[in-house]
Subunit: 302 residues, 2 copies
């Protein structure tokens, strides 16, 4: 059973569509707008964007498949390859209500070859799902980690614990020694050694992708009608500022896009609709805002 | 005539104080708050911050003098040096009114030596002033460039044209092929070859530092009472988003601070109080917002 690029793309496009349909149902008001784009050097994508909804203030569910001559900035990461394909679905959702967390998902597949026509010499899968709330919520976070563990365990019981730690490490705002949120899973460079393994890794990728809606739907439903104050909104804006800091300073996907002449609006759709930076803002002692920062510290959920 | 570090520091501290006094007078309501900080590895600083003023929404006028063992990340830039001193004044002001531009200034002095006690083996001056408006304004921009040229010309007539181009190059948001604002001057690594030259470069640095208030005062007075709409405010928020993008992705001072365990709140005081990112926001054809982007293109003012 040989898995081909076309098959992976087909899955990703279907995933994008089904996630958008579910998010539109959840929102109840706004719909996604399509933005199809082409990349001069090869390939392109379909960005789907929702804005000013009842639940979602700004969100992007982006599919892309770019290919062409390998950019110099990537050559250090590969052997002999001159040609690459990269395809994936990338999601960031910024909700209105400060008690509904930001969610991020990415599932991706890379392959390299010596020329556009020749055999694949190297390939890998990568991805992850993670959540960045503005307030602590045990129920939601346990739900997130349970579903992610369930998505991993059938494939390899070492996946969840490994990819959970990888996620905690990756989504650290190093200059603040602060976590972006409550983590999830993150993995990269999962390289199949043969076709059977490739089929397994692709099935694992689908397992992660398919868990996005079950994860987020419940979290949204738990919190979307919670009343909130100006102060809650202000804290959400400050946490969104942190989100922007992480993405612009550290995120590898963002930097990859900026360095490879990617489509800027699709890359930076991850940035929050509104964000704030107050000088030296320190939450009141004992407040929910203060508790958030402790709650974000990595911990074992099982 | 030997210029010593203490003399440079004294000037910088006086400059900080006099700029804060002038900005408080201009604002008429808010005053600067002092935040003194120490750096575990050596030195420290005095951050002066104004927030929620009548004219200035958020601004920082920061003095710092840090010293100690040269961090590894800087070793490639220097010869044999193990010990460094860096001192400077850094300013970013975010005004309330969208017709008053953001202004940025930095004046700095670095020196290196083999040990904490030994002779200076290498030293340089750097700095600049640049302005990031949300709307085109010929009068203000010509005023800015005239005063900067006047600050440069007595020292070297090649300075202004060279440092103006350097500024245009530096403050480009490369991934958008867009300028952060209308430029100004930027210079770095001005290395004196002997004491007389050091005295001259220090005098030049003072000439730049002392032009901050004459530059900004007039621009503030020209625009502070201009009426504005929601739409003007939205465009200001979008331009502030661009400002944050530049600082977090490209700014060397910011990255230097983040990599050398600098004081985060003082480094990131440059970030806007409130910023917005809308998906694929394109200003209306023929609008003032659209004209801004053309106005920002580098041009000769004389």
């Amino acid at each position: 059973m040989e898995i081909r690029l076309e098959e992976i793309k087909l899955y990703l496009l279907q995933l994008q569509q089904s996630i958008c349909t579910s998010l539109e149902e959840l929102d109840g008001e706004a719909v996604f707008m399509d933005d199809k784009w082409e990349r001069a050097e090869g390939g392109g994508g379909l960005s789907k964007v929702i804005q000013n909804g009842a639940v979602f203030e700004k969100g992007g569910v982006n599919f892309s498949h770019v290919h062409g001559k390998l950019p110099d900035v990537l050559k250090s990461e590969t052997r002999n390859a001159e040609y690459f394909h990269a395809t994936g679905v990338s999601i960031v959702i910024h909700p209105q209500n400060p008690f509904v967390p930001i969610i991020h998902m990415n599932v991706r597949y890379f392959c390299m070859s010596e020329t556009a026509e020749s055999e694949i010499t190297e390939e890998w899968f990568g991805g992850g799902i993670d959540v960045s709330p503005a307030y602590p919520n045990e129920t939601d976070t346990l739900h997130l980690h349970t579903l992610l563990k369930n998505a991993c365990d059938p494939f390899d019981e070492t996946y969840y614990p490994k990819f959970k730690i990888w996620c905690d490490d990756y989504f650290t705002i190093k200059h603040r020694n602060e976590m972006r949120g409550v983590g999830g899973i993150f993995f990269d460079h999962l390289r199949p050694k043969h076709e059977t393994e490739k089929a397994e890794l692709f099935a694992f990728l689908q397992s992660v992708g398919n868990s996005f809606i079950p994860v987020y739907e419940q979290i949204v439903k738990n919190n979307r009608y919670k009343p909130y104050t100006e102060k809650n909104k202000e804290w959400q804006f400050i946490r969104r500022g942190r989100y922007a800091e992480f993405n612009l300073v550290y995120d590898r996907g963002t930097h990859f896009g900026l360095r490879t002449n990617g489509r800027i609006e699709s890359i930076l759709m991850s940035l929050p609709p509104h964000a704030e930076w107050k000088y030296n803002f320190i939450p009141e002692a004992g407040s929910e805002e203060e508790k958030t920062l402790t709650f974000f510290q990595p911990k074992d959920w099982f």
